[in-house]
């Protein structure tokens, strides 16, 4: 059995990583040998205990992806618990009412599920932004970037499909608004929207459809994509930022690193624990309440809007006039943020290697502008909603 190396230092005598007491405990009691004889895990043990995680100023950002995964696991567990009482279709609202107001700890599980969903999307977005700025999309990691973009879209789809399930007023009208967007796609738009809705209007069949999407189809797709995403990371290794690579080339020395297990794993576990505590705090402090039951005959309440992660496309549609050069304004809006997504997805081709400094700068500014405008428009969208509700 491969023994862990003891305290490892770099040439300046600075300790890079220390042997973890857990590993010592495992070795002293021959636990790993016992497991290896039965499960043949020595290969895995050797891999994780020597897989390098670079140590530099931005190492903290390596945890973002793991955090998104953690929140997804929370979603799976809390989602499974909620599924024990949730009934899609005509009884959707009453089942959520039952969960929130009758079932022991139902409101807590539901609140955790709600906040974990939001934090998962926040983690995914932060992870994506950090990968962008650390240039981890460059060759040979293009497919990690592509699968990551798809995972982000799937996460947003999770948020979208799950939002309707309580079948309250907010959920109903927000879904109705968001589903008006794909209708603008030429030729196939209406068909797509009808397919998603299960008809020409959002109704109780839409709830059942979204439920299947939320608990079966999307998790299946995500599992496959995640497997590819993580598999490629294991195969290609954890990337280093450009300045670290330049330093290595200049000094002809490898940067400091720590083993994935146990050191990086312990850092991840600590972050997961703290994030879990933060999640429970949010669920306890701001529980997810249930609004009035959706009534498809009533007009939309003033100031209705989608969730925060769809506010940017929603506001773009509102900002564009009805007709632009004779073309449908909403169609142009759909085109704009589709183009934004496309450019974002093609960044590995715009900036494939560190050799092309100009391309690197172009990619940097494109991405920064996209991020900045997205944040700005989202804030502007909320200001607009506030003004509408305040009657200003």
């Amino acid at each position: 059995m491969e023994k862990l190396k003891p305290n490892c230092t770099d040439e300046n005598g600075k300790i890079i990583w220390t042997q973890c007491p857990i590993a010592s405990f495992f070795e002293r009691w021959h636990i790993m040998s016992w497991l290896d004889e039965r499960l043949a895990i020595s290969g895995l043990w050797k891999y994780v205990s020597t897989k390098p995680v670079p140590i530099h100023k931005y190492s903290g950002w390596y945890s973002m992806g793991g955090l998104a995964l953690f929140f997804f696991l929370i979603q799976c567990v809390t989602g499974a618990l909620l599924m024990m009482y949730y009934r899609p279709g005509p009884e959707a609202y009453s089942s959520v009412m039952q969960i929130t107001n009758e079932i022991a700890y139902g409101h807590l599980i539901r609140s955790i599920h709600h906040w974990s969903a939001n934090l998962m999307i926040v983690s995914v977005l932060l992870h994506m932004v950090s990968v962008f700025y650390l240039k981890s999309y460059r060759k040979p990691r293009e497919f990690i970037w592509f699968t990551g973009i798809l995972l982000m879209i799937i996460s947003l789809a999770f948020g979208f499909s799950g939002y309707l399930l309580p079948w309250d007023e907010l959920a109903f009208y927000a879904t109705k608004i968001v589903l008006q967007v794909p209708e603008k796609i030429p030729v196939i738009g209406l068909a797509i929207s009808n397919l998603i809705r299960g008809g020409t209007e959002v109704n109780e069949y839409t709830v059942q459809r979204f439920f299947t999407l939320h608990v079966f189809i999307l998790p299946g797709i995500l599992a496959v994509l995640l497997g590819i995403h993580l598999g490629l990371i294991q195969y290609l290794g954890i990337s280093k930022p450009p300045h670290v690579i330049e330093e290595e080339e200049r000094t002809k020395k490898s940067c400091a690193w720590m083993p994935f297990f146990p050191n990086f794993t312990l850092i991840e576990l600590g972050i997961w624990l703290i994030s879990f505590a933060f999640l429970v705090f949010l669920a306890a402090w701001v529980p997810k309440e249930l609004g009035l039951q959706a009534d498809i005959t009533k007009p939309a309440p003033i100031g209705i809007h989608p969730e925060w992660f769809f506010m940017m496309p929603y506001q773009i549609l509102k900002m564009i006039p009805a007709k632009v050069f004779g073309m449908d304004g909403e169609l142009i809006g759909v085109g704009i943020y589709s183009l934004i997504l496309l450019i974002w997805g093609l960044l590995p081709f715009i900036d494939p290697t560190p050799k092309y400094k100009k391309a690197s700068r172009i990619a940097f500014w494109i991405g920064t502008v996209i991020i900045f405008i997205s944040v700005l428009i989202t804030i502007g969208a909320y200001i607009a909603v506030y003004k509408i509700k305040a009657g200003v």
């Binding site: 050191n263 312990l266 429970v280 705090f281 306890a284 529980p287 309440e289």
Partner: protein, 526 residues
């Protein structure tokens, strides 16, 4: 109601108090636990002759003295200012009982401050033995201040036999005194560990190269070993405290298990869940990162753990305060209530209901008696008499409302008093009852605003939105009518509304007026 009401918009006086008090607890708990930590760690450092640790301790002491002596003192005085403003009745009751205890506490404060100043400035001047003794003087005097204040805080929740005997010692050594003293001592030690963990990560960066990093790692591990068992044991300590409560804690905890609807009072359950969970997370989190992976325990780890620790303080204190509802002194156990949150003493409800809420108010006896007489007279005459609202417009920007019957409008001393060149009286017919909006306002301010705001935290107006006057009246009846109150779901955490019929109808009118603003007054009265 003999004191003016301090109105804090949106957050309310309860949160105003909560923010200042929680801030003080962050500092004061660190002051007690940190003192013990510093002297114990110094003893270890001196025993091992570890000069790097001595250096680190000097840095930690500097951080400690600045934070605790300065901010602790300011926030402590801040609490005095605050409680005098937001709830003078309970402040008066506490001072009358515990002035001697507080005087003792202030003696210990003086010893504390003197000791910590000597401790900090004499690291290199006193011999080790004397310096450690000074440290112990600080630690013991700091703990003694906890010993004293704990009695007063616990008294507010569990006055115990003091209700019957009025004995100082019964009040001080009340049923939850010893459990909470133990709990708080452990909590302070645990909290100090987290504070110093965060500080040590800073010194690790600041003194990189000047101190052997292995010794910093060793201190990080020592702090983690200090913190971990304490945080894990805190939930267990809570069980001792809960077992000493003279009411059924499970009953309160269950209030929030099965729902978060209005009137459920689920916040206490949620805060307790977060507190218990957070303690375990903090303990294991520190063990996993600061103990098992000390080398990679960096500054932001320390800050995040500290933020969680401070949030747990807030959650714990909020839970403790909520357990006391509907009392400020007392609890819901049989015969254990003394003073309601509305400032009314238990047992005085009937007197207020017979004579009126303001009958004892030294600032309004004549006006109040006269209004009572008018109310009874008008009530006898007709049940459909209109109330006339007189609105005095002092200038373009300021208005206030009076409610004066039509007949008395010109002769009323109140109107005469304010009428001058800049005043214009507008008359608007309002409502069907013969009440007084200004009395309704006084009742609202005096009895409701200790816990509620108008439109902010636990805002009353949004909660009543959609109800007409009758709906509002029916809801208020659940708090005013003794029979309805006994059956009401709000009884667990809201005091009964006290006052005679005029007070009640005036309050209903006041609420209806603000929730449903009559059209004629929309642009006139603020």
């Amino acid at each position: 109601m003999n004191y003016p009401t301090l109105e804090i918009p949106y957050i309310g006086s309860s949160w105003f108090m909560g923010i200042i008090a929680t801030f003080h607890i962050w500092i004061s708990h660190f002051a007690v636990g940190g003192g013990i930590y510093l002297v114990v760690t110094e003893m270890i450092a001196r025993r091992d002759k570890n000069q790097d640790w001595i250096q680190l301790l000097k840095g930690q002491t500097r951080f400690f003295i600045i934070l605790t002596a300065a901010l602790g003192a300011i926030s402590g005085v801040g609490i005095w200012f605050t409680i005098g403003l937001i709830n003078p009745q309970v402040t008066s009751a506490l001072i009358h009982n515990f002035v001697f205890a507080w005087a003792c506490e202030w003696v210990f404060f003086i010893i504390e401050i003197a000791a910590i100043i000597v401790y900090y400035y004499t690291w290199d001047r006193l011999d080790a033995k004397t310096h450690i003794r000074v440290g112990w003087i600080y630690a013991i005097s700091a703990w003694m201040s906890l010993f004293i204040i704990n009695g007063i805080l616990c008294f507010m929740l569990t006055p115990g036999e003091w209700i019957q005997t009025r004995s100082f010692y019964a009040a001080f050594f009340n049923p939850t005194y010893w459990p909470l003293l133990t709990f708080r001592t452990l909590f302070m030690l645990a909290m100090a560990g987290v504070w110093f963990l965060a500080a040590t990560t800073h010194y690790r960066v600041k003194w990189a190269g000047k101190i052997n990093e292995e010794n910093i790692i060793k201190m990080t591990r020592w702090l983690a070993a200090w913190v971990f068992p304490l945080w894990i044991s805190l939930p267990l300590m809570m069980w001792w405290f809960v077992s000493k409560l003279p009411f059924d804690f499970n009953e309160i905890f269950k209030l929030g298990i099965s729902g978060i609807g209005p009137g459920n009072f689920s916040v206490i359950t949620r805060m307790i869940i977060f507190f218990l969970f957070g303690c375990v997370v903090l303990g294991f989190g520190v063990w996993l990162t600061a103990y098992l992976n000390a080398h990679h325990f960096v500054r932001w780890h320390g800050i995040v753990f500290l933020a969680l620790c401070l949030a747990l303080v807030g959650a714990g204190e909020m839970s403790r305060e909520l357990l006391r509802k509907p009392y400020t002194i007392g609890n819901s156990g049989q015969g254990n209530g003394f003073l309601y949150v509305s400032g009314v003493r238990v047992g005085e409800e009937k007197e207020f209901n017979d004579k009126g809420y303001l009958y004892k108010s030294i600032w309004a006896p004549e006006i109040y008696q006269s209004r009572n007489a008018q109310f009874n007279k008008a009530k006898d005459k007709s049940s459909n008499s209109n109330n006339t609202l007189a609105i005095a417009v002092l200038d373009k920007s300021k208005t206030f409302d009076l409610s004066i019957e039509q007949n008395n409008l010109e002769t009323s001393s109140i109107v005469k008093g304010i009428t001058d060149k800049s005043t214009e009286i507008k008359q608007v017919n309002y409502g069907k009852k013969y009440s007084d909006l200004s009395i309704g306002k006084s009742v609202f301010y005096g009895q409701c605003m200790n816990c509620h705001t108008k439109v902010g935290y636990r805002g009353v107006y949004p909660r009543l939105a959609g109800r007409d006057r009758e709906g509002i009246r029916n809801l208020m009846l659940m708090l005013w009518d003794p029979i309805e109150y006994e059956k009401s779901i709000y009884k667990r955490f809201m005091p009964p509304m006290v006052g005679n019929e005029m007070d009640f109808e005036s309050l209903v009118d006041w609420l209806d007026y603000n929730v449903n603003k009559p059209a004629e007054t929309q642009n006139l009265v603020k």
